[in-house]
Symmetry: C2
């Protein structure tokens, strides 16, 4: 009835994002068969159980064989090894896309592994997520209204870029094209640093004797603020290390602002503290949260 | 049809919490008439428009006159002055409760102002909130399933405490009784420090040249992490200053944890960084968010 955008999809990495991507394409009936691979057999089974994939594969190569679209949904540091494994198996015309939270390193890995065939790889980052990792939490609606950043390689041609855009739009997302460095710098500020802060906040809390007691009194503010501290450890380890220069640079701005606020509190400077909070509150209220 | 828990309620401070409290009691039809007072005439009108209050009052005393329950829903630093104004007007048998985020200072203010009549004042803190301040965001369901901490004064008798408990339970909340110091220490850890961090994070972001550009790429992680940065400036100024000793003490734990994480990132210590994140993620996942 509807033309298939993707005849056969290979999902490499059956987690929250990989599973949600497959479900989103299936929801619009724009994908034929979906094969999935994960190092964890349990994840593959779970992906099959929720209907994200039609069939599990025993290896990356087996999943990629015959696919016209391969989605890499793995921690960014695994990009090069996954591309090496699938390169001999993937059809020459297959489009390869990823979902990594950092893009300069993913581009470098693709160029290093694929060489003159790098044009077929389009680096992508869907800015979407939820509290819980794992394919069991996958949702067909995860990308609805979300931004997907596409950071083209120099080698990418208009055909691959248009196809990648059409595929992401069919998941319900809006595509923005930008360069990888701009993407990584922005993500350091609005995603990677918040994760680092949330991890440190939880660590600091757990280091205190009364952690269990105080957690029992935590309310909705804590719930939202600390949600991202439940992120996948391997994924976030990779992101923080990969983008470390930008993350550490942005951290200095946060540290300065924290010291300034601390000084105002210690000095009891009510007027300046109120002004500082008011500036934050206005900026946060002006952020168009509703559309995200 | 149902016995009225509260014949006449005075809401002093027509904001998110005051308005939601009145709406919650009205939802269960356990309150007769509701009078409201706010320094801002606009807030009183908005409270009336959404049906939280039946009538505006020109002064705190006018609102309190004839009430059998007076709710103080004002920034904590205003507690003493509000109690001074309503003391001559409130009926001898009227119960006075508050909703302040810090309790030791509120208890001290009540004892200082009410003296031997302090028994009628029961310090309360509903651990509930939402992204947006202001009575226009009030909801009858705001307290459903939330914890309300009651931190009794030495002077409180079982009658007042039982009545305060019954009233809060009728809003849908669950009551926990504890001492004020324990409450304030716990709130410093799970609420006040997160707010301080979120304010500093937003300040640090706004100090950067590309703030507008990076905010345009922010996604759901940013949305949740920074939600509390939109808190009411006067309210949070008061909380941070009132509870400053505990907040600054808890801040040191956060700072240590942040330095530790930063050192691991700078050193590229992938194994230790992953272990640190895994510990956070497990603790956060074990927190019973669903019930809050």
């Amino acid at each position: 009835l509807s033309a298939l955008l993707v005849r056969q999809l290979a999902v490499i990495g059956c987690g929250l994002i990989g599973g949600s991507f497959a479900l989103a394409l299936k929801r619009r009936a724009v994908v034929g068969r979906v094969l999935g691979y994960s190092p964890s057999a349990g994840s593959v089974q779970a992906a099959q159980r929720i209907g994200a994939i039609d069939m599990g594969a025993d290896s990356i190569a087996a999943a990629a064989r015959g696919a016209d679209l391969v989605l890499l949904a793995v921690p960014v540091a695994a990009t090069a090894s996954v591309l090496s494994e699938l390169r001999p198996a993937a059809a020459a015309g297959a489009l390869l896309i990823d979902v990594g939270s950092t893009k300069a390193d993913v581009a470098a890995a693709a160029i290093a592994v694929l060489g003159e065939n790098a044009a077929r790889f389009v680096p992508c980052h869907p800015i979407a997520g939820k509290a819980s990792a794992g394919v069991q939490h996958a949702e067909a609606t995860l990308f609805d209204g979300r931004t997907v950043a596409i950071t083209p390689l120099d080698a990418n041609q208009i055909d691959e870029l248009d196809r990648a855009r059409a595929i992401w739009e069919s998941t319900g997302a809006q595509v923005r094209t930008m360069n990888a460095a701009t993407h990584d710098a922005a993500m350091a500020a609005v995603s990677h640093l918040p994760h680092l802060i949330a991890f440190a906040y939880m660590q600091g809390l757990l280091a205190q004797d009364d952690a269990a007691d105080v957690l029992a009194l935590a309310g909705p503010g804590f719930r939202d603020f600390s949600r991202i501290a439940a992120g996948d450890p391997v994924l976030w380890r990779d992101v923080l290390l990969t983008n470390r220069a930008e993350v550490l640079r942005r951290l200095q701005h946060f540290r300065s602002a924290l010291q300034q606020a601390e000084a105002l509190i210690a000095a009891g400077d009510a007027a300046a503290l109120q002004a500082l909070i008011a500036e934050c509150a206005e900026a946060r209220a002006a952020w168009p949260a509703g559309s995200r």
